[in-house]
């Protein structure tokens, strides 16, 4: 008998020690809701994380949870997924984790298009080490704990994801959980590497890109705040690559990059780009090693009951026989 899974099925009893009002809570519940709505068996899902506040996420979710090293969640996640492609694999991490120390893995994972979903908790600061500037903080900004204004330029995670080769690219907002949950669901359902950049105000250290700032409370028009955030889908934005034609793909990619530079007065969220026509890494392996399709590494039997190895190497040894 299978019971219907709800958001509660994905909660753990672990005490959550994020700061009150942290954007991370919204991302956490969006993940839990997405998994519940997709009815993914908790024991068939794995969440990988890096280091920082976001790194604790797996401990709060009742699925397999691997809280890895700083910047290294993606290699772990890819290894697990390729060893057992039946798993639903998510990776989560901060912008410092994924775009600073882990930037090499972020870019190179895009080249592979492994079927998994990567969610970045993007708040512009290194929270857990008391608020240093992260790779997405704009130059010249001086958030609360910076002794001097930020000296580095910010990188653009969406544009990088496009050029790196991610095949599903979206941006969510931590305080719009219903919208974010839908993005996560679509990311999980997408066959290939999905990247979701989530704007996540840090109430303790980022006193510039706050919930109020995103909500436009500093610019009241006719008694109402004029929000900075808007949804791409509300403006008829076409993100989907409809054919395997590289020309269409290039057009959609350039469009996504161009939109990703919109910032300040208006900030788009939603799906920037999706291309379902690029083969996944798993499909690429099957093309060269067909046995992978039915017998991936973690599922393949390697020994008989007695423990004798199953692999026979006589044919290979023949190459060396004298």
């Amino acid at each position: 008998m299978t019971t219907r899974l709800s958001m509660v099925s994905f909660r753990t009893a672990v005490h959550n020690d994020w700061c009150p009002g942290c954007g991370d809570f919204g991302i956490l519940s969006s993940i839990q809701m997405a998994l519940a709505e997709l009815q993914i068996e908790p024991s068939k899902a794995v969440i990988f994380s890096g280091i920082g506040c976001s790194g604790k996420t797996p401990h709060y979710v009742n699925t397999y949870g691997i809280h890895t090293l700083h910047g290294r969640s993606l290699p772990f996640a890819l290894g697990a997924k390729l060893a057992n492609p039946t798993l639903t694999v998510l990776a989560v991490g901060g912008d410092g984790d994924g775009l600073g120390i882990g930037a090499g893995h972020f870019v190179n994972s895009g080249r592979r298009n492994v079927d998994f979903t990567y969610i970045v908790f993007d708040n512009g600061v290194y929270g857990l080490t008391k608020g240093q500037a992260s790779p997405t903080l704009a130059r010249g900004l001086k958030t609360k704990s910076l002794p001097r204004p930020n000296i580095n330029d910010a990188i653009n995670p969406i544009a990088i994801a496009v050029t790196a080769g991610y095949t599903f690219i979206a941006r969510g907002y931590a305080y719009d959980t219903r919208h974010l949950k839908e993005l996560i669901k679509k990311g999980i359902q997408h066959k290939g590497s999905a990247f979701i950049d989530v704007l996540q105000p840090c109430p303790t250290y980022n006193d510039i890109n706050t919930k109020e700032w995103y909500g436009g409370e500093d610019r009241v028009v006719e008694g109402k705040p004029l929000p900075r955030i808007y949804k791409l889908e509300d403006e008829g934005y076409e993100y989907l690559v409809n054919s395997a034609d590289p020309e269409e793909d290039n057009k959609k990619k350039l469009q996504a990059i161009s939109r990703s530079f919109e910032w300040g007065e208006r900030i788009p969220i939603g799906i920037f780009y999706q291309n379902p026509h690029i083969p996944t890494y798993e499909e690429r392996i099957v093309a060269r090693t067909p046995v992978y399709a039915t017998s991936p590494p973690a599922i393949q039997p390697i020994a008989g009951k007695s423990g004798r190895p199953l692999a026979v190497i006589d044919e290979i040894m023949a190459e060396f026989m004298v």
Partner: protein, 653 residues
């Protein structure tokens, strides 16, 4: 006096077929029934720099190379001027008859320091500055000269084959040198023919023209030179089938048998050959007959497969392998020193989270980029102690190519039984040498997966990945196991894998983890940890680890004939150290000698730390070239007769 071991060397510019000619020669010699040991030396360079291959053959098993060269085969000037000095009295040099007039200073790849060294020697002999002058020195020292008119033979070959492009044929000069060697050594053409067929099997035309080239050359040499070469191997009727295989291929085969189904790597010399070989053999046969009860096997259609992933760096390599291991695959990565440096944080994570992970570490000359294509054993202490904090790991080391195959299976068994990272230490000498060995026997192997649970019975209670147990080993589920959910974190954690900073829990968890090493120490039999060779009743004990084994075995066998006796303990499990065994072994000898290829004597340091015993003598080497049996033999004599505390050997070109 003719030796029972004959040493042949071939050299040339990288990219001109030195490797393939050496492979042909080694295979042909082995097919003639000889035992063979081949050593490959090359620069960190793609084309043009000097590389050479030395092959020792004998009618009895041979485990190492010799300093002396009996027959030097060359087809370029650089090989002559670099190696003619190594040829013994009565030995021979094969060279291009046209090249004798070439000036040494015109060889562009000869470093200034080398050419100056050679010119000094020549002027001391009152000679000039050409290749011919170097040959004259060799002749004075008693070497026979075999000038071969390569170009004339190639022209003759062009007539015979109808091939008009001489440049296409001149690519075969290396085979001409091999064939001339075969003739001089009195080895049968039939074996050479067979070896050429096997090496170039994919290209029938290449096979045909190479065989023709070999035939014409052998004919020329037989007619031209007297049949008086004193160093001729003794041929016996062909024995049982054997393998002629390199270290990297042997370990790759070990991984397939061990059930390693996920391998990651980042390109690095000399480790990547293993991964490339695995990728090239990523589908293999499974034995279905023996296992009719295994239903899954029929679904595989009789095949298994390994996934090899080339990652963006070694950090990704180690962590991706850990991810696969968490999912239940036997997983490993292969690397060399600089890559291993980058893997240390990931290794700590595997230790902290009790992930069965195998790292095959091919040591090479360090520190930093060091001598990337040369040999050293510099990472013994690093592989045992590297990393912040303390975590359990097992470090093993193989002494030769055959051992490396069987040790690979052991590495995976230890990793899963004790749920920890295992570092399998090998090195450049083992990786790149080739050796005749017995055919690998999977019949004597067992896969032991330890406390692995493919399902978890919830009625037994909630699953705890890091449950406290007496021996420190907890039941292990893998990602995807129903009722088996767990958490991992690099933070200290509780039995579920959730973060804790509680001091009591920290103590318990630390002790649980480290207890696994005590369990391993108690369970792994001494016979797997130390091998004893030589004469156990001898007054002197040699202690070593890894690839010097071959040179030591050959050296002590020779010294035995001279009436000098040695016992030799090869330590194969370096961590947990076989303390009890070594502690009682050492006092029964008058003299103890460590032989290892590093500057500081890392095994010597380790023995002191683990047993309290001081080792009396150290024979060490760090010039990037592996020990020859010749130099180990001489160094042992120096220790014995002069009592030298530290002997540094410096042979090799």
């Amino acid at each position: 006096m003719p030796s029972s071991k004959i040493s042949w060397m071939i050299g040339g510019a990288q990219g001109t077929g030195v490797d393939s000619s050496a492979n042909i020669f080694a295979r042909a010699a082995a097919l003639s029934g000889l035992y063979v040991y081949g050593k490959r030396e090359y620069y960190s360079n793609i084309k043009g720099e000097h590389s050479y291959f030395s092959i020792v053959m004998s009618d009895a098993p041979v485990y190492s190379h010799l300093d002396e060269v009996h027959l030097l085969a060359t087809f370029d000037s650089e090989t002559v001027v670099r190696h003619a000095w190594e040829v013994v009295r009565g030995g021979g040099i094969i060279y291009d008859a046209m090249a004798v007039g070439e000036k040494i200073t015109s060889i562009p790849t000869l470093e200034k320091i080398v050419s100056e060294r050679i010119l000094t020697k020549l002027s001391r002999e009152g000679l000039g500055e050409t290749v011919g002058d170097v040959l004259e020195v060799a002749k004075r020292a008693g070497a026979a000269l075999y000038p071969i008119p390569y170009m004339e033979i190639i022209k003759k070959l062009a007539e015979a084959t109808g091939e008009k492009q001489l440049s296409a044929l001149s690519r075969m000069t290396n085979v001409l040198a091999v064939a001339a060697s075969f003739s001089i050594l009195g080895l049968p053409f039939k074996s050479l023919e067979e070896a050429i067929g096997q090496i170039f099997k994919a290209k029938a035309r290449v096979v045909k023209s190479n065989i023709e080239a070999a035939r014409i050359t052998m004919e020329y040499v037989t007619n031209k030179f007297l049949d008086t070469f004193p160093y001729r191997p003794t041929l016996r009727p062909t024995r049982k089938p054997r393998l002629l295989i390199s270290g990297t291929s042997s370990i790759a085969l070990g991984k397939i048998v061990a059930g390693c189904r996920f391998q990651t790597y980042y390109p690095i010399t000399p480790a990547s050959d293993e991964s490339v070989f695995l990728e090239d053999h990523d589908t293999f046969t499974l034995n279905m007959e023996d296992y009719p009860h295994l239903q899954e096997v029929s679904e595989l259609n009789g095949h298994g497969g390994v996934v090899v992933v080339q990652t963006e760096d070694e950090i990704a390599a180690v962590n991706m392998a850990s991810g696969a291991a968490l999912a239940g695959a036997r997983a490993s990565t292969g690397t060399s020193g600089p890559g291993f440096d980058l893997m240390i944080e990931g290794l700590g994570f595997a230790g902290m989270n009790e992930i069965p992970l195998v790292v095959t570490l091919y040591q090479r000359g360090g520190p930093s980029t060091g001598l990337p294509t040369r040999h050293e054993q510099g990472e013994l202490l690093f592989s045992i102690f590297g990393g912040h904090g303390e975590f359990p790991r097992i470090v093993i080391s193989s002494g030769d190519i055959e051992e490396a195959f069987y040790d690979t299976i052991k590495a995976f068994n230890y990793a899963e039984k004790y749920q920890l990272p295992v570092i399998h230490l090998v090195d450049k000498a083992l990786a790149n040498s080739t050796m005749t060995t017995d055919v690998f026997d999977r019949g004597r192997l067992n896969i032991e997966r330890g406390r692995l649970f493919t399902s978890w019975d919830a009625s037994k209670g909630e699953y705890k990945r890091f449950a406290f147990t007496e021996d420190g080993i907890s039941p292990r589920t893998v990602l995807g196991t129903t009722n088996g959910i767990f958490w991992n974190t690099g933070d200290e954690h509780d039995e579920y894998g959730h973060i804790t900073e509680d001091p009591t829990l920290r103590d318990k968890m630390m002790e649980k983890r480290m207890r696994k090493l005590e369990t391993a120490d108690a369970e792994i039999p001494e016979s797997e940890r130390v091998s004893i060779y030589g004469n156990p009743d001898a007054p002197s004990l040699i202690l070593s680890w890894g690839s010097p084994k071959g040179a030591i075995l050959d050296a002590i066998a020779d010294l035995e004939h001279e009436g000098l006796h040695f016992a030799f303990a090869q330590i194969r499990v370096l961590h947990p150290f076989p303390t009890r065994f070594i502690q009682t072994l050492i006092p029964s000898y008058k003299k103890t000698i460590c032989v290892e290829q590093n500057y500081s004597g890392q095994l010597m340091t380790l023995i002191r730390a683990r047993t309290g015993h001081m080792i009396d003598h150290l024979i060490c080497k760090y010039n990037g070239r592996p020990f020859s049996s010749t130099e180990v033999k001489n160094a042992l004599k120096e220790v014995l007769f002069k009592g030298t505390a530290r002997v540094v050997t410096r042979a090799g070109a």
